[in-house]
């Protein structure tokens, strides 16, 4: 009996190994197609989708994928697909451990690739890994535009993944003379955790010529840096008859979500101004928010 059970166990083990092995083989075949210059771009991109879990199974396959990624003579669609496939493999963290060092090294090589889309994606991945090399490159580019690998707004956005003093200082410099609206917005977002930026955010919030988004970033930053300021700043906006409907809607949303219900209920002037907003010609959705807010206080 024991012999029979042992034989059965061995048979099951072999069957499982075969199944795993066939899945492995399928992945390796996919990598073979994906890295073959003889196949069409379409075939190679499709094969990349089947590659993720097989990437780290053999050193040869890994190096073949990394070579495709780093080779600027390869079609860009194939290189981007390789990056996506390697990124997907990176989620299987334990399986990917053996590949990681080579992967990061290749990403650094590709960080200044001629293709702007590839550069942007690679630098994004490196910054999310808090890579010092990528950070230095981005900061250098912001200080010296001739060295910039990405537009300033994108560089600022990526620097927000690892915020520290150097990033704050370049963000402030950008705000003094923003090259465009997006750069200004990204600089404000990055500074939202900087306690020294409170006066800046108060100024942005008060300025009706500022874009709604920037004023909203300012309101939220002030709330985090000075929590008691949320009700004060939202209140001022709602009471100001000349301020815009969209920033009023943003302020109302902030109060509804994060305000002190008891304190708000006692603020007669505020409730009256919200009532006026509800009856105004503002978009229906904004008025619905006002109605919902007021219903909490039987208004």
């Amino acid at each position: 009996m024991a012999k029979k059970q042992k034989a059965k166990k061995q048979k099951t083990k072999k069957r499982k190994a075969a199944k795993k092995s066939s899945a492995r083989m399928a992945g390796r075949r996919a990598i073979s197609v994906a890295t073959s210059a003889d196949k069409t771009v379409k075939q190679r991109v499709a094969a990349m989708a089947a590659a993720p879990l097989a990437v780290c199974e053999s050193e040869k396959d890994l190096q073949a994928m990394l070579k495709v990624l780093s080779d600027s003579s390869e079609p860009i669609a194939v290189r981007l697909a390789a990056l996506q496939s390697l990124g997907a493999a990176a989620f299987s963290v334990l399986s990917f451990e053996s590949c990681r060092a080579d992967y990061i090294a290749t990403l650094r090589k590709v960080a200044d690739d001629p293709d702007p889309e590839l550069r942007q994606r690679v630098l994004g991945i490196l910054m999310r890994e808090k890579d010092g090399y990528a950070q230095r490159k981005l900061l250098d580019g912001l200080k010296n535009p001739a060295k910039a690998l990405l537009p300033p707004e994108k560089a600022l956005q990526l620097l927000s993944y690892d915020v520290h003093a150097d990033a704050y200082s370049v963000a402030r410099d950008i705000l003094k003379k923003p090259p465009n609206d997006e750069a200004k917005r990204e600089a404000l977002r990055l500074l939202a955790a900087d306690a020294k930026a409170v006066p800046l955010f108060e100024k942005v919030l008060r300025d009706k010529k500022e874009l709604r988004e920037n004023r909203q970033i300012a309101a939220s930053a002030l709330h985090a840096l000075h929590p008691d300021k949320l009700q004060q700043s939202a209140r001022k906006i709602l009471l100001d008859k000349s301020d815009y409907a969209d920033i009023k809607a943003t302020s109302l949303t902030a109060l509804e979500q994060f305000g002190d219900e008891e304190a708000l209920g006692k603020d007669k002037a505020l409730l009256q101004s919200i009532n006026r907003f509800r009856a105004s010609k503002a978009p229906a959705k904004y008025k619905q928010t006002a109605r919902r807010f007021l219903s909490k206080y039987d208004q």
């Binding site: 997907a88 299987s92 707004e153 977002r189 939202a192 929590p227 809607a249």
Partner: protein, 406 residues
């Protein structure tokens, strides 16, 4: 005469929620006025608001559910147990949109309102469901100051081996989602985590009133009334997400649901879905969700993983893989790292730090539920398999999917 009805054997309004799985309930006479015998015959029936959920009943632990149930209830106040469950395919859309009425003859003697609360396709939520979910999520984040920070900190570089690239990938994320969902329900009990069905077009998710639309830079824009505009993680406001596909269609290259379910009937083979479709769903975007250490900074992460979990649930149903004692239900390997074997407790809920575990354990124990006991404060891997209570009713974790049958 009056009777009291308790759902999940609780009078708490927070417990008035059921799924497709049987929920233990009870009835008792609280005012016997007019009774002429020691017992009274009470008929239970389900009453649905328009578009609301529907429940069925049965008296015992086995058998099919019916639209009505007649119970013999002592007038002395003793409780009589019964079971209620949502009728598959008819979930609620808001709290209290289904009621249970108790009648003696034609006289109404008691009633209660409840909700058939299940996880739904995010692309087809009603405006009310969407808005309540978004409001609860924004409150949990509380502009970076809220409890969401713990969930963000559970999925960082140093903790990733606890949950990825090994057998515990699916159970860990099941527990992670459940913990977050229960925190959302503590804010608004009518909320259930929806899923992003990534193998189908889901344009409604990527709109300013829901999870936002991305500009060319990859900054997500919200409408002025969407509280997610205040989303903040790691001290920085906003969400970075740049779709590499047209959001009017599904991302290319991902395995379809049918293909995923056909990967294999053994868990050790099925779990390779971690690469495709799971990994490729993540890398269909640029931005936070693309990289393991930053993925949960984007709240879309939780909808993505809700679909991953739904696929696992569907695979379990398809292959009857609820029993940890069945080899095919899991990938048991004595050499697996801690947290990836069936009897292992899972970080961070176990509070274990150092050694093979990360240096801190954010968030504390698993959030409790007013409706069910499972999976416990420190769930083990094996506790996450019988999520429906198929083998043991006490294992029911209190969630279900709109399209996964009991």
């Amino acid at each position: 005469m009056n009777v009291a009805l308790e759902i999940n054997n609780s009078a708490s309004p927070d417990a008035q929620f059921v799924t497709w799985a049987p929920s233990p309930c009870r009835i008792r006479v609280v005012n016997p006025a007019g009774a002429t015998a020691p017992t009274v015959s009470v008929k239970l029936s389900s009453v649905s608001a328009s578009g609301g959920g529907t429940v069925g009943f049965r008296s015992g632990t086995t058998g099919s559910f019916a639209s009505t149930l007649t119970l013999t209830v002592p007038v002395n106040g003793s409780t009589v147990p019964f079971f209620a469950a949502g009728k598959f395919g008819q979930p609620s859309t808001s709290s209290g949109d289904v009621g249970i009425e108790a009648r003696v003859g034609t006289t109404l003697v008691g009633s209660t309102k409840l909700m058939v609360r299940v996880r739904k396709n995010a692309n087809t939520l009603t405006a009310g469901e969407r808005d309540r979910f978004v409001a609860a999520f924004a409150k949990l984040n509380n502009q970076g100051l809220g409890r969401f920070a713990d969930f963000r900190d559970m999925h960082v570089t140093v903790s990733l081996p606890q949950a990825h690239g090994a057998p515990g990938f699916l159970p860990w994320h099941r527990a992670y989602l459940l913990d977050l969902e229960r925190e959302l329900q503590a804010i608004d009990a009518s909320v259930a985590l929806p899923y992003w069905r990534f193998d189908q077009p889901a344009p409604n998710i990527f709109k300013p009133d829901f999870f936002g639309s991305s500009d060319s830079l990859g900054t997500v824009r919200f409408s002025a009334t969407n509280p997610l505009q205040f989303w903040k993680t790691d001290g920085v406001q906003g969400i970075n997400r740049r779709p590499f596909f047209n959001v009017a269609v599904a991302p290319p290259g991902l395995l379809t649901e049918a293909q995923t379910l056909a990967i294999g009937t053994q868990y050790r083979v099925f779990r390779t879905m971690e690469g495709n479709p799971h990994g490729l769903a993540h890398t269909s975007f640029g931005g936070s969700i693309q990289s393991p250490p930053t993925a949960p900074k984007d709240p879309l992460f939780f909808l993505l993983h809700c679909n991953v979990d739904r696929l696992w649930a569907k695979w379990q149903r398809q292959n009857s893989r609820f029993d940890p004692a069945v080899t095919a239900s899991f990938d048991s390997n004595p050499a697996s790292r801690p947290g990836h074997k069936l009897p292992d407790t899972m970080w961070p809920w176990n509070g274990v730090t150092g050694g093979t575990r990360p240096p801190t354990a954010p968030g504390g124990a698993m959030a409790a539920s007013p409706c069910v006991v499972a999976p416990g404060l420190q769930p083990r891997v094996q506790d996450c398999l019988d999520y429906h209570g198929v083998l043991n009713a006490a294992s029911n974790m209190g969630f279900d999917y709109d399209d996964v049958r009991l």
